[in-house]
């Protein structure tokens, strides 16, 4: 549809212009002058250019840069200039001036007048559009208004031309010409877009501007009223069109001349302007980077790359002075010293940087480290401080050394070199310092992130250990005819050292193990896992508690750390007869409460992992107890007896006994809960400091 519309508009234009041409031929052959035909002809020409303008406007690309538009204008003008030049070469018969009217001397004149007018007319319409885009590219208040005023003035001038004979000079048209000229000058000061061009674009603009200026001076001369065959042709074709073409050409001359001169004046500052632009862009990128970069190496690469870009330095690198254990950040860069790494090398090798840094270590580097102030070396060869740099690596002439300062500590140094002497000025240092500041923040951030990741990792590990520990504890309590069993274990910290377990050794014997691994955390969880393995495997082989503990000692002593131990109490209960065999390896003694008596089963025994197997075997004893109906046996860890808030005595053995004796008639669960309540109230509801484990066994038979 759109294409069809364009084709229709273009067709209309062509058709109208063809009609005009036919009319001209008829006029030439028949020699009749009728006023309304002339007026109709002018209206047709206007309509043709109006449709052409609408067609062009719908396909117009506005987004191109001003310098590209200038290039397009140049190409266009060259085409038009070539067409004009061709007309001079062909040199048609020309015109005769008669009574301030132009009369063609032959059909060829009519043809060439049509052609030249169309070519130049189209050129000027396009040129108006180009000039509009260039003017609007750095648009300000009034830009559009001024341009519209100029266009209106040009159109008014053109229309005015209708009322004069082609070669006649009218007062009104002269006045209008001067007003239009003023508007042209006014508009031609809109050249601020030049400032924002890159250096390359400025150079292009100078070239384009210069040639355009020359070409349009040519057009101005050629189009001057009735002086040349081309001028006469267009004037013959349509005086308003001639005015329009002439005015646009004049404006183009002024504007392109202005462009040329302004760009010329802006050229010396082009480089500085380019740099400022790239500084701003780089700083903007860097500040974005600070919030985005999680990869330390990537960050360092960017910092040095931007340093190169902004100062146009030859090479750059970053020395990072690691704090504590931040060495691991330097995956891709070698460690230079114990605590120094070189990263983000640009156009320089690791060895070279090391030689350079070694050479300037005592003089410059130390001073930068001490004072945290940047240093510029204008000339490597002349400066005493850099005499140490060997000639073999002396491929550069000036150098900037800028520290990365964080909380008054120098955490790194940014180095940049240039081939020329006096390569770095104060502006460079300001910019590099700005980079260094941003890099500092980024490095700090990346270190903080690393730290928090590390902490998170540890947390996760702790969670895993906790989870593992939870799984090591029995998931359910054996349900037995004669025994009412209940258990509870609560770790004080994420991972505790308490452990309890049950196992039916055979149909008649229940093994109950309660223990406490010295220390806490992950290592305790590991020993606990080992203990569980030993219990699950050895308890079925060694059914006597004493024998089992000796074998457990034998298995553990090889693996356990010399300062760690596991205190364990182990009981094997005959679930049919109620005979309980007990052995104790350094653990809190079992509390046994019967109707007539209450007391602790204090057999002798070392903690597992203490002493040799031989001593352990020699000393450990086993006690047998016959449980009577209603008897209660309480296994526990020192979290119960040693529960102690600040400034208050421990919960203690007597208290434990008292509480259990008080509720011995009730169920195991009740006894367990009574104990927990008692400990909690003794702690005055403070959270416990130690793990707390309670296993209650009640003989029901």
């Amino acid at each position: 549809m759109k294409k069809f519309k364009k084709a229709l508009l273009l067709g209309t234009t062509g058709f109208i212009l063809f009609i005009v041409f036919v009319v001209d031929i008829i006029r030439q052959s028949v020699d009749i002058e009728i006023g309304w035909i002339i007026l109709l002809r002018e209206i047709l020409i206007l309509a043709a250019f109006a449709t052409l303008f609408i067609m062009l406007e719908s396909t117009w690309k506005r987004e191109q840069t001003p310098s590209k538009k200038l290039g397009f204008a140049l190409v266009l003008s060259l085409v038009a200039a070539t067409a004009t030049a061709m007309m001079f070469i062909i040199s048609p018969s020309g015109f005769e001036v008669k009574n301030e009217y132009l009369l063609p001397l032959g059909f060829d004149s009519v043809f060439w007048a049509n052609l030249a007018s169309i070519v130049l007319g189209v050129t000027m319409v396009l040129l108006v559009m180009i000039l509009r885009d260039i003017l609007f590219s750095k648009r300000r208040k009034g830009t559009k208004r001024n341009f519209i005023i100029l266009i209106i003035l040009i159109i008014v001038s053109s229309v005015t031309a209708l009322f004069y004979r082609p070669m006649e000079y009218g007062t009104i048209s002269t006045i209008l010409t001067f007003i239009t000229l003023a508007a042209m000058l006014w508009n031609s000061f809109r050249v601020s877009w030049i400032v924002y061009l890159t250096k390359r674009e400025k150079i292009l603009s100078i070239v384009y501007g210069f040639f355009l200026f020359l070409i349009f001076i040519g057009f101005d001369i050629v189009l001057a009223r009735g002086q040349t065959v081309v001028g006469q042709s267009i004037l013959f074709y349509s005086p308003p069109l001639q005015t329009f073409i002439k005015d646009v050409a004049l404006f183009a001359t002024i504007y392109f001349g202005m462009t040329f001169i302004s760009t010329l004046f802006h050229l010396p500052t082009a480089e500085a302007f380019d740099r400022k632009i790239s500084e701003v862009a780089s700083l903007h990128n860097l500040s974005k980077l600070v919030t985005q970069v999680f990869d330390f190496n990537e960050l360092v690469e960017t910092v040095t790359a931007m340093t190169l870009q902004v100062c146009e330095a030859k090479s750059a690198w970053l020395e990072i002075i690691a704090l504590h254990n931040s060495k691991k950040y330097m995956n891709n860069s070698a460690i230079h010293e114990n605590d120094v790494a070189i990263a983000g090398l640009k156009n320089i090798s690791q060895e070279e940087t090391e030689i350079i840094m070694e050479a300037i270590r005592p003089s410059i580097r130390q001073s930068v480290l001490d004072h945290g102030k940047p240093i510029i070396i204008d000339s490597i060869g002349d400066d005493k401080r850099t005499q140490g740099i060997k000639m073999s690596v002396n491929k550069f002439s000036s150098m900037a050394i800028v520290p990365l300062v964080s909380h008054e500590n120098v955490i790194g140094i940014l180095y940049a070199t240039k081939d020329v002497e006096y390569g770095f000025d104060k502006d460079d240092i300001d910019v590099i310092s700005a980079f260094a500041d941003q890099a500092t923040v980024a490095i700090e951030n990346s270190r903080l992130i690393e730290k928090s990741l590390e902490r998170e990792r540890l947390m996760r590990e702790m969670m895993l250990a906790q989870e593992m520990q939870r799984k090591l504890l029995p998931q359910r309590i054996p349900e037995l005819e004669n025994i009412d069993l209940e258990a509870l274990s609560t770790p004080a910290f994420e991972v505790g050292g308490d452990y309890y377990d049950f196992l039916m050794i055979d149909n008649e014997h229940l093994g109950i193990l309660v223990g406490d691994v010295s220390g806490k955390g992950v290592s305790a969880a590991f020993y606990m896992a080992e203990m569980k393995g030993i219990f699950q495997s050895l308890s079925k082989i060694y059914t006597e508690p004493r024998k089992f503990l000796i074998e457990a000692q034998r298995a553990l002593i090889e693996t356990i750390d010399s300062r760690s131990f596991i205190s364990v109490v182990y009981a094997v209960v005959n679930v049919k007869t109620g005979l309980m065999k007990v052995a104790r390896a350094g653990h809190c003694p079992i509390l046994h409460v019967s109707k007539s008596n209450a007391g602790y089963i204090k057999s002798i025994g070392l903690g597992l992992g203490m002493g040799s197997v031989e001593i352990f075997e020699r000393t450990i004893t086993q006690i047998e107890i016959q449980l009577e109906s209603g008897d209660v046996a309480v296994f526990y860890t020192d979290g119960v007896t040693e529960a102690r808030p600040d400034g208050v005595p421990e919960f203690g053995y007597e208290r434990l006994q008292e509480v259990v004796v008080g509720v011995m008639q009730k169920s195991s669960m009740h006894i367990r809960d009574a104990l927990i309540t008692a400990v909690d109230s003794h702690m005055m509801h403070e959270p416990p400091e130690d793990d707390l484990t309670i296993v209650v066994l009640k003989w029901k038979k």
Partner: protein, 117 residues
């Protein structure tokens, strides 16, 4: 914060270590360091006076276990003395009296060292 103190006295080529306050996971490294320096100085006859020791945790007990073997290999010993009954109960529970000489009095411990020689 430091509610634990160690001090050493020399008594006829026998080092007496005085413990004071709480010996737990936080303070145990202090005692550990002291034992290490004594062993480095080839001092193997050590008496630990627990008169002012108020509390000992499993980590504290671990310190004694860590060095007893080293010391005994060099014909020395770590003897413990002057424990309060509460502290003794903790040592006793784990069976320490089976492995260590625990005397009621410092002089008695020193005497035991001398009588061996």
């Amino acid at each position: 914060m430091s509610n634990f103190k160690v001090a050493i006295r020399e008594n006829q080529k026998i080092q007496v270590v005085d413990l004071k306050g709480y010996l737990d996971a936080h303070t145990a490294p202090e005692l550990e360091k002291l034992f290490q320096t004594l062993i480095d100085k080839k001092v193997f006859n050590i008496v630990v006076n627990c008169k002012d020791l108020n509390y000992i945790s499993s980590a504290g007990l671990g310190v004694f276990m860590a060095y007893i073997e080293d010391v005994r290999k060099n014909n020395g010993d770590i003897k413990l003395s002057n424990m309060s009954s509460k502290i003794y109960n903790v040592f006793d529970l784990l069976g320490f009296p089976l492995l260590y000489d625990i005397t009621s009095d410092e002089a008695e411990a020193i005497q035991k060292f001398c009588s061996i020689k």
